[in-house]
Amino acid sequence: MNSAELKQVADHLRMTAVDMVYKGKDGHPGPALSIADIMAVLFFDEMRIDPANPDWEDRDRFILSKGHACPIYYAALSERGYFGEKIEDFKLRALGSKFQGHPVMNKTKGVDMTSGSLGNGISIAGGMALAGKYRRKDYNVYVIAGDGELQEGVCWEGINSAAAHKLDNLIVFVDKNGWQSGASVQETIGSNNIKERFEAFQWDAQEIDGHDADAIKAAIAKAKETKGKPSVIVCDCVKGKGLSFMENDNAWHKGVPTEEQYQQAVKELGGAE
């Protein structure tokens, strides 16, 4: 897909995510919108996946380590056809729904790993990448982690051992939107120099505009060419990207749009179609 098409896909995923939170009356829209462009590139351009065969051994794997952003994940899976017909009402977070508050691998087709408890995606992806090496598979493992999430110590345990095992089939995106649940990352922990930290851990590291599809595609291509070390793509993102009333307003870390705001979203994102 070209960048205009990917932008359209990303905005459509954004609208679906907002619709899901609006109808479900709960969820995390800001963190979901932040990663829409990365999700569009991964699920509609990059990843080797087969929605009709979600357990395909040779598929690329994906872990949404910042699992609270799952509305955009569910939107992408639906749009790619994992659930047959596109879903009108996801019943997000409703009793009995396969669309849980955070992703669950045994409930939702296409979800490769349960996630939501922050910090664990990179370590788990390391295991998947090791399995790929051991079994002589050529799949890649992709992770999206949050910048706030990197405060969890277990992230760095996984980052450490992934480099030690030279997992060049592991590509981690960091959604560097500068916000976490309670405040900005800067206010919370004093620094957000993610690229430098990964470099110190012997990773290949790039920093790009996380809303530029061409830049995302080029970064993935470079990461895949890198041999002997895992890659991180630090993505400068805007939390709530795409909706004027949501962008950079951390009140939307978790929140439900009013009817008026929902209509505004329909206008700005081109409707739910």
Binding site: T114, G127, L130, E157, A164
Partner: protein, 310 residues
């Protein structure tokens, strides 16, 4: 089967034998290769040995990833570094998705940690795991039973925890004795005065207590409970039904392990008096025998407790 002594060497021997026939067997080590006596496994199967460094949460996560990709990883290290430090990973990323990860926790109990002291003695592991769905909990009583338990773990589909010790456990079973899939093996049937139930490496002490009691005219039945909170407790319930009264002995806190399990089975199926012998405090450093004796696991104290509750 190679020669081995104690639960740690038993684990390594079983792992090597499993890997000989199954290339999906992996060992994830948070710098525990030596502690698990698994150096030879790493030499024989270097690609199936995954060293992640001193990082237990990462070890469990890595194993979850390996299992999600179709492999059968074992994680082995000190019982508490897994069940406490990596408890959430064991729950959320292994048990909840029901992934095929096997855990072997060494240094369990006072006897497992003995001279190391409280930081390396773990008497809470069973209580923790008994609260997490999908775990099969195996508590072998000696090295030979540990070998069999590790073999059984590989055959079970889903997460398994095998409780192991220091490596200095006394052998009670014959080398070829099966690891009971019923969860109970009756080892002495002197009489029905008390059903004396043991779990794990205190079994030799419980058997010695039974012999002491016999000399004193008290005739007990001794059962070794080797699966806790299992799916098919019928044989254990059968033994409880036949019992006059029950005394349980476990090298674990009295809450959450054998005594709690037997109390529940009894209360729900065949109410009997149950007296639990186990730990109610932290331990301390000391030579295994003296330590176990000091904390109530001497054959004499077990026998005395049985008699006091007749």
């Amino acid at each position: 089967m190679a020669e081995f002594k104690g639960t740690r060497e038993a684990f390594a021997a079983a792992l090597i034998d499993l890997a000989a026939n199954d290339d999906k067997i992996m060992f994830v080590s948070p710098d525990s290769l030596k502690a698990m006596r698994a150096t030879k496994f790493a030499e024989l199967y270097p690609e199936q040995y995954v060293e992640v460094g001193i990082s237990e949460q990462n070890a469990v996560d890595t194993a979850a990833g390996l299992a999600a990709a179709g492999l059968t990883p074992f994680v082995g290290t000190y019982a508490g570094f897994m069940t406490m430090r990596a408890c959430e990973q064991m729950r959320t990323f292994v048990a909840y998705p029901n992934l095929n990860v096997k855990f072997v926790g060494i240094n369990s109990g006072l006897l497992g940690g003995e001279r190391e002291g409280v930081t390396h003695q773990f008497y809470e592991d069973l209580g923790i795991l008994s609260n997490i769905p999908n775990y099969t909990i195996l508590t072998p009583a000696d090295g030979y039973q540990t070998y069999k338990a590790v073999q059984m773990a590989a055959k079970i589909n889903g997460p398994v925890y095998v409780r192991a010790g220091s490596g200095r456990e006394a052998n009670v079973y014959e080398k070829d004795a099966p690891f009971s899939s019923d969860g109970i093996t009756v080892l002495r049937e002197y009489g029905n005065d008390t059903l004396l139930l043991s779990s794990g490496f205190v079994l030799d002490r419980v058997l010695a207590a039974a012999d002491l009691l016999k000399e004193q005219g008290v005739n007990v039945t001794v059962g070794d409970i080797n699966i806790l909170y299992g799916k098919n407790p019928e044989k254990i319930i059968e033994a409880i039904r036949k019992a006059e009264r029950i005394v349980t002995v476990e090298d674990h806190n009295i809450n959450g392990g054998l005594g709690a399990y037997i109390s529940r089975l009894s209360a729900e199926n065949a109410p009997k008096f149950v007296k639990r012998i186990g730990l109610t405090t932290f331990g301390e450093s000391g030579p295994a025998k003296e330590l176990a004796d000091a904390y109530g696991f001497s054959p004499e104290n077990i026998a005395k407790t049985v008699k006091e509750n007749l």
